[in-house]
């Protein structure tokens, strides 16, 4: 499956996840599975109004209810927080104003969940309702009643970038398209609803077990909100039931549980209902993309112009980063010299949006790849061939200062071209059937940390003592993507021992060094490199001691097959355990240390907003979707998706395939059926019954293909695999629908009613002008 895996014992070979046994026996613990004696249950009071001033809160009746131990409101935790240093606009509980239906107003900790719920009903809040903003394009025209007084016109952030000469680029174009694209809002819908257990310890410390992708940011935030030194707080990440970005910033229940625990001096657990998961949200925002692209007759992209408006909800969250990714990652996939980008992050009175798998790139990629397909047809070119003609020549620096070090997109395109039988199918299938292709890419971690500093992004320690057990201490967060297993593989490969000799201690702020978290697909690249460095450090210490014993140079030794052996003299060999004893005698203590920080030259340009987009490496994906459209019902069945993904090197092909297929699945959901439906700031479908993530029967067959470009800086050449494939799926399906029935739907999800309407419009238009559509319903094909 992998290139050059001959030299490796563990890297590149499919391996079951290191925590799989804990999961399949049901013995592994997720946050809500934890309980401690004396634990209280916390429940949060949410605002029933979309925008309201809080005049007063009366908790006296709730407080009097038997079993209620503590109630907290805004005055109990005044310090604002937020994931970005420029966006500290949230508080544990609303102070002054509630900004959306579901905003956090107070919380109760009681002896049972039932009592806590009853207590919520007894809290009297006097609200003064204010005019509210729900539509982003309306909201950004607001002259008064701003959601946040410090954000005039309800604009959280705007960015305006131009690279090259876009105007000249459009002049040179032979074909120019301009369209408005719309993407509905989607939620991560991880199967595990968020849960946090905050324990007040006998020594007045606070221990927090939480379903988080970012335990170290949570650590900082709780310290600030609870006004405690970080050294008094310990955050532990248990098993996480899926993240996808939904647990990648501080979620209100986490601070609520900490505040309640501190105030009651008791352990408090809060578990969200599924509805509360939707109200905490942080998903992919409603995105409006006004896109203009020009291409030459030969299919070369001459200029791109995008105006992107994102409906961010009531708080900043990751918003500025999301809108910057939308612009920055117009680059680094194709060779585009001229780009203009205007991005707006707008506040509305709805739950805050945030990072979701493919952060910032997905909706714009849908627009771009749809438009490229459209332009290809206008130019009379095969859309796959048009991609071939716009490839980068890596290594290179893009117009917007992104450094591309490895580039497997050409191979991805050729792989899906062959596997999908593209040339036999494109434009040649009967009416109602079609194929479409699209590409996407993503960062392998952000080159610049959220909180700017020159400290490493990840540190890993490896300890070996007299039992010869190898313990890896990493702050990286396993959330189901295989972070733990990746560490085990890298450490075992480097030390030349079996994988089951590696013991992992992860994501515990008291025991493990820092890792920034599981977001922006950074773990394999960054924590992987840190782990590799730590393992090399450890290996070199052992080799040095053994070399001394054998009277040879350390370079003459290798760690392999559970032994430290001389490369050419087979008489000089120690078992790993013997070598450890030698090394302990020699060094006294054995600790390997490794860190990772992206190189200076990967950190991007100097313009405002240049910090987001740069990454030490980019993954690439190409996909072909094959669909069947029922022209009478507008229903779409996706028969198959072939997805090729360049992940640098597949450290573990099993988990890489799982990540590709999971990404495609999530893209499929967003393409056709997932949509948060809003009515005056009220979410109409806050449940897994009505927010319809795909189930087995309608989910397409997915063929995942691994492409390995062997990145020069990735650990063993690896890059990200967990997010980059998602964005290609949506436009691949949209383009396949066009191939099948000749209509383009610029609004996702592409629901059957939209297709029917477009087909009717097309019929009218075709009747009017004699028709020149790609394929037409043949009488025979459509006779029923």
């Amino acid at each position: 499956m992998g290139k050059n895996t001959n030299g490796f014992s563990i890297i590149g070979k499919p391996m079951a996840m290191s925590d799989a046994r804990a999961k399949v026996t049901g013995l592994g613990k997720y946050a809500d599975d934890l309980s401690v004696p004396g634990m209280l249950t916390g429940k949060i009071l949410h605002s029933p109004h979309a925008h309201a001033r809080i005049r007063s809160i009366d908790v006296s009746r709730a407080q009097a209810l038997a079993g209620v131990k503590v109630i907290a409101t805004g005055v109990d935790a005044r310090n604002p927080y937020g994931i970005l240093p420029i966006g500290h606009d949230e508080r544990a509980f609303a102070l002054g104003k509630a900004l959306y239906i579901g905003d956090n107003v107070a919380a109760v900790a009681a002896t049972t969940a039932e009592i806590a719920e009853q207590a919520l009903d007894l809290i009297r809040v006097d609200y003064e309702q204010l005019p509210a903003w729900f539509d982003p394009e309306e909201s950004m025209k607001a002259e008064s009643n701003w959601i946040n007084d410090e954000r005039p016109q309800n604009i959280e952030k705007e960015y305006h970038h131009a690279f090259g000469d876009p105007d000249k680029g459009f002049e040179r174009a032979d074909f120019v398209a301009e369209e408005r694209y719309y993407a509905g809002e989607v939620n991560h819908a991880a199967m595990e609803p968020h849960a946090t257990l905050a324990i007040w310890e006998p020594d007045d410390r606070l221990t927090v077990h939480s379903s988080t992708q970012v335990p170290f940011y949570l650590h900082r935030t709780i310290a600030s909100v609870c006004e405690m030194p970080m050294s008094q707080i310990r955050v532990i990440k248990p098993l996480i039931g899926g993240g996808f970005g939904g647990k990648s910033e501080i979620i209100p229940l986490e601070v609520a549980a900490a505040v309640l625990a501190k105030k009651s001096r008791r352990p408090v657990k809060i578990t969200y209902t599924r509805e509360e998961v939707f109200l905490a949200h942080r998903g992919r925002p409603i995105t409006i993309v006004y896109l203009k692209v020009g291409i030459s007759r030969a299919g070369k992209i001459t200029a791109v112009q995008a105006r992107v408006i994102q409906d961010g909800g009531a708080y900043c969250g990751y918003g500025p980063v999301t809108v910057l990714y939308s612009g920055a990652l117009l680059g680094a996939i194709y060779d585009i010299a001229n780009v203009r980008y205007d991005g707006f992050r707008v506040l509305t009175n709805k739950p805050a949006c945030g990072a979701m798998r493919g952060h910032g790139t997905v909706n714009v990629r849908f627009a771009f790849e749809s438009m490229l397909d459209q332009l290809s047809h206008r130019a009379g070119l095969d859309p796959l061939e048009v991609r071939r003609r716009n490839l980068l020549k890596a290594p290179c620096i893009t117009a917007n200062s992104l450094r591309v070090t490895s580039y497997g997109l050409p191979e991805c395109i050729e792989k899906v071209f062959a596997r999908s039988n593209w040339s036999e199918k494109k434009g040649k299938l009967p009416y109602g059937k079609g194929v479409g292709m699209a590409c996407s890419h993503y960062v392998s971690g952000a080159a610049n940390p959220i909180i700017r500093s020159n400290m490493p992004h990840t540190t890993v320690y490896i300890k070996i003592d007299r039992d010869a057990a190898v313990t890896v201490y990493t702050g990286a967060s396993e959330i189901g993507q295989g972070s733990d297993t990746m560490h085990v593989q890298i450490a075992a490969e480097t030390l030349g021992v079996r994988a089951d000799r590696i013991k992992l201690v992860a994501a515990d702020t008291e025991l493990t060094p820092i890792d920034l978290g599981s977001y922006s697909s950074r773990v394999t690249f960054m924590a992987g490199n840190a782990c590799l460095n730590a393992a090399k450090d450890m290996r070199d210490q052992i080799l040095a001691a053994v070399a001394k014993k054998f009277g040879c140079a350390a370079e003459e030794l290798e760690a392999k097959g559970g032994h430290i052996s001389h490369r050419s003299d087979s008489s000089k060999s120690l078992s790993f355990d013997e070598a450890v004893a030698v090394a302990l005698e020699f060094h006294g203590a054995l600790v390997g240390r490794g860190t990772y920080a992206p190189p200076e030259m990967a950190r991007g340009g100097k313009f405002k907003g240049a910090g987001v987009g740069p990454s030490p490496a980019y993954s690439y994906s190409a996909q072909v979707a094959e669909v069947t459209v029922d022209p009478e019902t507008g229903q779409v069945r996706v028969d198959k998706i072939v997805a090729a993904h360049d992940c640098g090197r597949a450290l573990n092909p099993l988990t890489v395939k799982g990540q590709i297929e999971g990404s495609v699945y999530m893209g499929f959901g967003q393409a056709l059926q997932e949509d948060m439906i809003w009515k005056d700031g009220r979410l109409m479908n806050p449940s897994l019954l009505e927010y319809r993530i795909p189930a087995t029967k309608e989910n397409p067959e997915i063929e995942s293909i691994i492409v390995e470009s062997i990145d020069p800086e990735g650990p063993f050449g690896a890059k990200e695999a967990g997010e980059g494939s998602l964005a290609a799926t949506i436009p691949a399906i949209a383009n396949a629908i066009f191939d099948a029935v000749g209509v383009r739907i610029n609004s996702i999800p592409i629901t059957p009613d939209k297709i029917l309407e477009a087909l009717r419009e097309k019929q009218k238009a075709d009747a009017g002008n004699g028709a020149n559509g790609a394929k037409r319903p043949s009488l025979a094909g459509n006779a029923r």
Partner: protein
Amino acid sequence: MTLPAFHVLQPRTLEDAISMLGQHGSDAMVIAGGTDVIPNLQMRLFAPRVLVDVKPLRELSKIEFSPREGLRIGATATLAHILETPWLREKFPVLASAIGTVAGPLQRNMGTIGGNLCLETRCRWYNQSHFWRQSLGGCLKKDGDVCHVAPGGKVCWATWSGDSAPALLTLDAELELAGASGKRRVALRDFYKNDGMDRIALARNELLTAVHVPARMAGRRGVYHKLRVRDSIDYPLAGVAVAMEVDAAGVCRDGRVALSAVNPAPVLIRPAGELLVGQKWSLELAERVAHAAIQTGKPLTTSGSTPVYRRDMVRVFTRRALEETWRNGHGST
């Protein structure tokens, strides 16, 4: 979400159950599979003090057929049990077709035919949490006086969202209801009141004990088409059931078409029988029946998708179900 406080009564006999229902009146609710009742209780859509758990009443779970009496399905027979009854699919294909679309296999292992026929009507302004409805100020059906589907109206449009009822309507099914004064039979079509707030004609102290399908309906071809987003789990956004008797010459001797999920009740398309009887298959005729269907179906914004689309699909599905049943012989034995 927590459950409200209630007691659970477990009758040993049908008589026990009836007397419990009589004793507790409006404080009591019947629970069988729990798949509908429990989420609704968690949402605080009702607050019974007593649940009468009829699931253990073995006498109510039998599935029988005799050429004289026809089909009798006890109310607590699970949907899965019905589907797994080998002869049922042959004799009553429309029913098997419909039940096969209910939610998913795990829900069907729990959900009963009685429960499916007595489902609470559904509406996206109603099937929401206590918090959600409170923030809205309630609706006509619960805790409020405004219908958010048809503001200004005084009628509740909460929608009938069961799949088995339309199929059974096309089979002239009857229900057996047991009360303090004994058992009575009621035609299924008279059981539904087309009122989102007061959906079924079942007295507080009555229990649905069985559904009957006349023997003459055995062997009728038929099929159920369900509009939904996912191919499992989902409630219908629209549903069309067709059952008909077709002679060797392809002439329809008798036929029914019924709709679900577009009105507060499952409904028979009244003119369909007249249009179909004595006729041979033609696309034009099917379109006429489909036209009658959209005269009857009145989808509103009670569920996902759009009313216009759901109405369109009632038309398309009606025509297709007729075509499948009649022209292609689906479900013929």
